[in-house]
């Protein structure tokens, strides 16, 4: 099975005997990289976790106090291996898993987001994956009635034969209804939801090595209707105060849920494995590690049992009492006699691995493409680049309205905005940039963090927390492991200086297929709070301001990668001190209503940022290139550089003096104006609004008609 010789020796030494087959199955599932974080724990601990809004106390997940008597939590999960084999079911069950995660914390899931990565869309296999991943997410999320409000997609050939499917869920709960989160001797352990079958056997181990074979038995089967019943029943039970603690069954199945629950509370559990209701004939080992979906484990005391069971019956959810909480701190598993008797803490805490790391030779050769003749064509090609183009084809398949919270819908602004309660809103965005992170994991991941923050700030919100999903290739590869460490350091440094704590995260290694490793792909999510939503749009004759300085740092830019196929050069570096001063100022400018629109300048650079603003606001623009503060020698560098700390702002002439005053101590330039014409102009480069719009809608054309 999955254990190394050292791990097996450690297990037997701790037990003082040989492990039984069932014990071995449990341990190898729970000690897989996927469940145990044995290669990453040491480094994840360096991320700052405390902050102004973070609730102190012993919670399973980080809870943020968002006022009004409410607390909020956010999770992120990936389902990469399963999605690469069976994109529809893999992506759908990814949604189901993260939703049950949120539910386990006692919160109501109120919104979903996703970050996806595929190979070039000209690759038919990538297109197939893309189409079915989106359909899987849509069918599952829509059916369970949780809006999918935002996301992020990147296309890069390092994902050939593979894909990344990250799903994030936000949960909201009344502070007064937070779970008791304690368990006592004699409490019942109830398994409820779908039946246990052979799907997803060894799923956690499957996700903890390279994807070489298409092992379909390791992929789970989605049942969103059962999930919806579980959500409704669980929320009803929480309202009645019936649930003491709960845990969803995900990677590692019962082995993981039972051992982590027992270990967390320092208790033991007597498990009657024969009580688990099955879909098909299975061995004890298979039952304990099956990853069949839509199952939850609840800890209920004697007094609440009747009430709790009546709710399950109302929703016609199958259930079984499969265990009793004991003081002995072991998992004692009975199945025609005792078949396992092992300390929960031993199962739940894999020995950590000290891996070797080695810095890679930096690829920053100064090779530059020859200066292009036709900049206009390049702008149109970049608008067509699926990484940049409109994601309408995707988000229109997601119900993003259900729940009556979605104030700013996907595709309209840099971040989506949700109504938390009367007078309080949440802005949320996921960002990633595998191209930058490949060339420079430290600055690349820091850049993703900064970009996600800019998206939050540009709608006027204050960033209050960050989640990270760190996705890499094989950690046994010293270079890959070093890239992981660099990325964590980049994120931790930014988090510390900006005072934005890490409120959730996940690590996923072994993202490699027979085509090789993926590029390092941290995905960063940032959430922010705001009291008012500024809905203004760009008006005729609004002036254009850009903050920050445009620098000659085009390594990993869409311009180099998508247009010139160059994967080299210096990636943009974040000026953290500048961000620290700039963000509160931009927030103030947006919230005071002084500006009509703010847009983050990132993938594709300034030329794309301005074009996007024009397309979305149905307005033209003229930009005077020489007035852009820059450290570049070439026109293409200025237009397509992805330097950080840049916001593009539309402001009326009337408000211009006030905005200039607020920005006075910061780098900015006034570079042109928007106007009621149907052209976007950079000096004498003129792009028709209609041709820009056509290019920008490329994904719909390729997917529906191509």
């Amino acid at each position: 099975m999955g254990l190394s010789n050292e791990e097996l020796a450690y297990l037997e030494k701790s037990l003082g005997r040989k492990a039984s087959n069932v014990e071995l199955s449990m341990v190898s599932a729970q000690w897989s990289e996927h469940c145990s974080y044995k290669s990453s724990k040491k480094y994840i601990k360096t991320l700052p976790k405390r902050g102004k809004y973070v609730l102190e106390g012993n919670y399973d997940t980080t809870m943020l106090d968002v006022g009004g008597g409410y607390v909020l939590t956010i999770h992120i999960e990936s389902h990469n291996h399963p999605s690469a084999v069976e994109p529809y079911g893999g992506a759908a069950t990814g949604v189901g898993g993260v939703v049950r995660d949120i539910l386990s914390s006692g919160a109501k899931p109120i919104a979903l987001l996703n970050a996806l990565r595929f190979s070039d869309m000209r690759d038919a296999h990538a297109k197939w994956l893309f189409k079915n991943v989106v359909r899987g997410i849509a069918d599952y999320g829509n059916c369970i009635g949780i809006p999918t409000v935002g996301g992020e997609v990147e296309f890069d050939t390092s994902f050939t034969g593979y894909c990344l499917v990250d799903v994030s869920c936000i949960g909201l709960c009344k502070r007064s209804e937070l779970l008791k989160n304690r368990i006592d001797e004699g409490d019942y352990v109830i398994l409820a939801g779908g039946s246990t079958g052979k799907d997803g056997i060894h799923g956690a181990s499957f996700a903890s090595k390279a994807l070489i074979s298409d092992d379909r038995s390791a992929v789970q089967i989605p049942d969103p209707f059962m999930e919806k019943l579980i959500i409704d029943a669980t929320l009803e039970a929480i309202k009645h105060g019936y649930i003491k603690s709960m845990k969803d069954l995900g990677g590692g199945g019962l082995a993981c849920a039972l051992s982590e629950t027992a270990d967390k509370f320092g208790k033991g559990i007597d498990v009657m494995l024969d009580k688990v209701y099955l879909r098909e004939e299975m061995s004890a080992e298979e039952i304990i590690i099956s990853e069949s979906q839509e199952r939850m484990l609840y800890i209920i005391d004697k007094n609440s049992l009747e009430g709790f069971v009546s709710i399950l019956k109302k929703y016609e959810i199958p259930y079984a009492i499969i265990g009793i909480v004991r003081e002995h701190k072991n998992l004692k598993i009975y199945y025609d006699g005792i078949i396992a008797d092992i300390p929960a803490s031993l199962v739940a805490n894999a020995p950590l691995i000290n891996r070797k790391a080695r810095a890679r030779i930096v690829i920053n050769d100064t090779l530059k493409p020859s200066e292009p003749e036709n900049i206009k064509d390049i702008i149109l090609q970049l608008l067509e680049d699926p990484t940049i183009a409109s994601k309408r084809w995707i988000y229109e398949q997601y119900d993003h309205e259900v729940g009556l919270r979605t104030v700013i819908k996907p595709g309209l602004r840099d971040a989506s905005i949700l109504r938390l309660y009367e007078g309080k809103f949440l802005a949320v965005k996921l960002d990633g940039n595998s191209k930058h992170c490949y060339l420079d994991p430290y600055h690349g991941s820091q850049g993703c963090f900064s970009e996600a923050c800019r998206n939050i700030v540009s709608v006027g919100a204050e960033p209050i927390g960050m989640i990270d999903h760190l996705q890499f290739g094989n950690p046994e590869n010293e270079y890959t492991y070093q890239a992981f460490i660099d990325a964590i350091n980049g994120i931790a440094d930014y988090s510390r200086i900006m005072d934005i704590p890490c409120v959730g995260g996940k690590v996923s290694f072994y993202n490699e297929s027979k085509h090789g490793e993926i590029k390092p792909s941290p995905v960063i999510g940032v959430i922010g709070l705001l009291d008012n939503v500024n809905r203004a749009s760009i008006k005729d004759n609004d002036r254009i301001i850009i903050t920050g300085i445009t620098k000659d740092e085009l390594g990993g830019s869409e311009y180099y990668e998508y247009i010139h196929n160059i994967s080299a050069g210096n990636v943009p570096k974040v000026d953290i001190q500048l961000d620290k001063m700039l963000f509160p100022t931009i927030q103030k400018i947006v919230n005071s209503g002084l500006v009509n629109y703010v847009h983050d300048c990132s993938k594709g650079g300034l030329a794309i940022a301005i074009s996007e603003m024009c397309i979305l606001n149905d307005i033209g623009a003229e930009v005077d290139i020489k007035s852009i503060k820059n450290e570049c020698n070439r026109l293409d560098d200025i237009l397509f550089s992805e330097s950080h700390s840049r916001f593009v702002i539309a402001v009326s002439n009337n408000n211009l003096p006030k905005v200039k005053e607020l920005l006075s101590s910061l780098p900015y330039s006034i570079i042109g104006r928007f106007y009621d014409k149907d052209t976007v102009s950079f000096d004498d480069i003129n792009i028709g609004l209609e041709e820009a719009r056509y290019a920008y809608d490329s994904i719909t054309r390729v997917m529906d008609h191509g």
Partner: protein, 226 residues
């Protein structure tokens, strides 16, 4: 007056409709689990959107056999106003309370989008406060929302077309977004009025959806005095 919102296993817009009727319009409204057999005392019934029974077999087909549907059929005969939104519309069609069928969208995809719909019959309880040909901005969100009926000409003659899309998102026959029965008291519509009932949730700062619920309110008030 009392308005009932039916919850089937898998409904997911029940609380949204409840919010609009209760928190915005301050009406006497209750959520009713689908196993309830007696609906005496309700002046209007709303079947909300969602995925009753996970849309298994076909959207709405299993819910149409829920215990509560027997009473709903009785109420329909008694001319009690009944509105089905999205999945509720699909259920009413499957239960035979409305004509036609809702089939897979022409794109074969789920579509969530704000649409403009036009009022074609303003004599139903849910539209009588609206002007004929009035345009409303209300979003759709469905995968089996493409209306189809064999006897469309007769339906048009009898005034059974209640709403038409200005920009048909599903490929529905004759741009049909909503229909009613021959007595006009049972209405089904694919767009979600509850999602268009507060300005803050609308990209157009509109609350046109509220007009449909306000129509119901004034209809019920009027009827009380008749």
């Amino acid at each position: 007056m009392r308005i009932g919102i039916i919850i089937f296993p898998g409904s997911n817009c029940d609380k949204d409709v409840y919010y609009v009727l209760k928190d915005i319009m301050h009406l006497d409204v209750s959520l009713i689990w689908h196993t309830k057999e007696d609906l005496k005392g309700y002046d209007a019934i709303i079947l909300p959107g969602g995925f009753a029974y996970g849309d298994r077999l076909r959207a709405g087909v299993i819910a149409a056999f829920s215990p509560v549907m027997r009473s709903i059929k009785m109420l329909a005969m008694d001319k009690v106003p009944i509105l089905g939104v999205c999945n509720g519309f699909q259920i009413l069609v499957e239960a035979g309370l409305l004509p036609g069928a809702l089939i897979k969208n022409q794109s074969l995809k789920f579509v969530c989008r704000w649409c403009n719909i036009i009022v074609e019959n303003n004599k139903t309880p849910f539209t009588h406060g609206l002007k004929l040909k009035q345009e409303l901005r209300i979003p759709v969100a469905n995968q089996e929302g493409r209306y189809y009926a064999d006897n469309i000409k007769d339906m048009i003659k009898r005034g059974q077309i209640v709403f038409r899309y200005k920009d048909n998102p599903t490929g529905a026959l004759d741009d049909i977004a909503g229909v009613c029965n021959e007595d006009y008291n049972v209405v089904g519509m694919m767009p979600h009025p509850e999602r268009a009932s507060s300005c803050i949730l609308s990209p157009f700062n509109s609350d046109d959806g509220l007009l449909i619920f306000k129509s119901l309110l004034s209809y019920l008030e009027m009827r009380r005095w008749v």
